[in-house]
Point group: C2
Chain length 353, copies 2
């Protein structure tokens, strides 16, 4: 689990004090990966104090992170600095936080990041790493994974060493998120709850986190009783609890199929989940009904027909990616999921999207 | 925060595998502090595998832990073993878990434990320490404190190093708890929620945990929809979430006054909280009303008149202890609590108990 967390509006100002005791020396910099949407945003960047060889690297977030990108970042650090960094700090959404986690791990584990996609392949603790979400919903701030698109699959590096050593939860950092992105990423959390609470892996631990996150989502996306600030605070907590819920259970059908869309078409995770989940009445009837209500309340129009012109080969590729995520299917359907989830079934579903 | 946690009925069986990678050598034992109620309980103790110089120490739990007791345990370890232990494992309720945390810290921080009562006085990480609750409610499994009665005060060692490195949440271990103790300790959690949710320190982080713990308490203590096992599972999670809620806010009036009772009369924490909380309508009207409902539903009769024969000097001592807990009062009442909470007020309240 995450070792330390601070929460509060303005807590981002504590970053310097939080990092200081972890500095290993003048030649061991803090490397900040920052969502490039904040480039030139003085309100945020002026609060990142660079000392000695510290460095900000702006991360483009149009695409989900690739294993090749992680390997490049790691190589850049090794070539540029004489010592390993004191810490890796990710300031951004799921993409940026996952990059920070992956770079931290790959600085101390030899080889290429694609070789660590899977479960518990990481053997050494990473560099001290800090997550600072600037959008809420992914749960990346609390999860034990870092989702990467590799040459062969879209799959996380799941390990005990993946979670952040420190998280700073400052809901004020989410104030500039555009509405659509707010919705899609918030729905990532909502889908985590539905998949966790309806999964066969469920236990009282995950259930308690999932129920809390779900009730916060309902408060935020279906009711009108919250101020803007309260809604930001609560969505940050929903993301946290939703992430905790799946950390000790698993996600399900929407995530498995969304990974397929992401791998083939580069559809981003949040919107991909929404596109898939919208068609999953058969698996999550109540959850999908509520999702449609939320979508309507916030006037969200999802892209249609994104799979309309795909070849059979392309469908097959998406289906290969989706089916490779066995724990997700086992959680969603049960041990005998393979009898129910056929390639035809998935083709039919993808064709609706 | 707690770094690692496993949850599940029977997860206690994983203990050997969990500890193994943390063994530092043949001369660095694992020391188990185990509630002496389990002495001769083969069902539990046979699952603690002792290797090399590992040792079980049975802990009497009639009284809350004292700083002198911690210092003695630490001295015993230093005299008996040539190396520092590989780990300290607490198997029991709040008392035993607090002992495990305190011994772990005092093995690496010089001097007497009384000198560390307070906030952030601990300077060095403790020995690897593991908490395994066998009763639910205290939140000691997740808290950043270890409550000790010292020569001058009853006060915790609160620090970033206090939380366990590993927690094993196995609800099956709580199956033998007697009814009264189940209720008193469960109410410790309930009171944590009420004090946190009604405190001035409240924030969205603590609120989300407190609300979940409170809703679980209601399910367990007021409704009749749960099997015995479900109720055990859920109470273990309520304790966890309630502990998380106060870790990032604070407790209040009941805890401050209960510490006074504990210090002077040796009243144990759970029952002490109940005795005090029963008279706090003025501060927590809804919470106390619900508490009385729970008490009635489970036919719990609280001791009456425990302060009937106390001298003024004794009242003064209790009041000194209670008033010394300034953050608790500030959380409960606000910055100007001293104008409202007078010695007369507290005398009147204690006289009712």
């Amino acid at each position: 689990m995450v070792s330390k967390v601070v929460f509060g509006r303005g807590s981002f100002n504590q970053l310097e004090d939080i990092l200081a005791p972890n500095r290993k020396g003048r030649n061991a910099p803090f490397i900040y990966y920052v969502d490039d949407v904040f480039k030139g945003n003085h309100w945020l960047t002026s609060r990142i104090r660079l000392s000695y060889k510290d460095k900000i690297i702006y991360v483009p977030t149009k695409e989900e992170p690739k294993t090749s990108q992680i390997d490049k970042y790691v190589e850049d650090i090794i070539l540029e600095f004489s010592e390993l960094p004191s810490g890796i700090i990710g300031v951004g959404g799921g993409i940026v936080m996952d990059i920070a986690k992956a770079v931290s791990l790959m600085l101390t584990n030899k080889g290429e990041s694609k070789d660590y996609q899977g479960w518990d392949k990481i053997k050494h603790p990473g560099i001290y790493h800090v997550g600072i979400p600037t959008i809420s919903g992914t749960g990346a701030e609390v999860s034990r994974t870092t989702i990467l698109t590799g040459p062969e699959r879209k799959l996380g590096i799941n390990s005990d060493y993946t979670p952040f050593d420190q998280v700073v939860l400052d809901p004020e950092l989410t104030k500039g998120v555009p509405k659509n992105q707010w919705f899609y990423t918030g729905m990532d959390c909502y889908v985590h709850c539905i998949e966790s609470l309806n999964g066969t892996y469920l236990n009282a631990f995950s259930q308690s986190y999932g129920e809390k996150a779900l009730s916060l989502c309902k408060e935020i996306f279906l009711e009108d009783n919250l101020t803007k600030e309260e809604a930001q605070d609560k969505l940050m907590m929903a993301s946290w609890h939703g992430g905790m819920s799946i950390a000790y259970s698993q996600v399900g059908v929407a995530h498995a199929m969304s990974y397929g869309l992401g791998y083939l078409l580069g559809v981003k995770h949040g919107i991909g989940n929404c596109i898939v989940f919208d068609h999953l009445e058969e698996y999550y009837p109540k959850g999908v009904a509520l999702f449609k209500e939320m979508k309507q309340k916030h006037n969200i129009e999802l892209p249609q027909g994104i799979c309309a012109n795909l070849s059979q080969q392309e469908f097959d590729k998406m289906i290969d990616v989706a089916l490779s995520l066995e724990p997700l299917w086992e959680n969603a359907i049960g041990k005998h999921w393979q009898t129910e989830i056929t390639r035809e079934k998935l083709t039919d579903l993808y064709k609706k999207m």
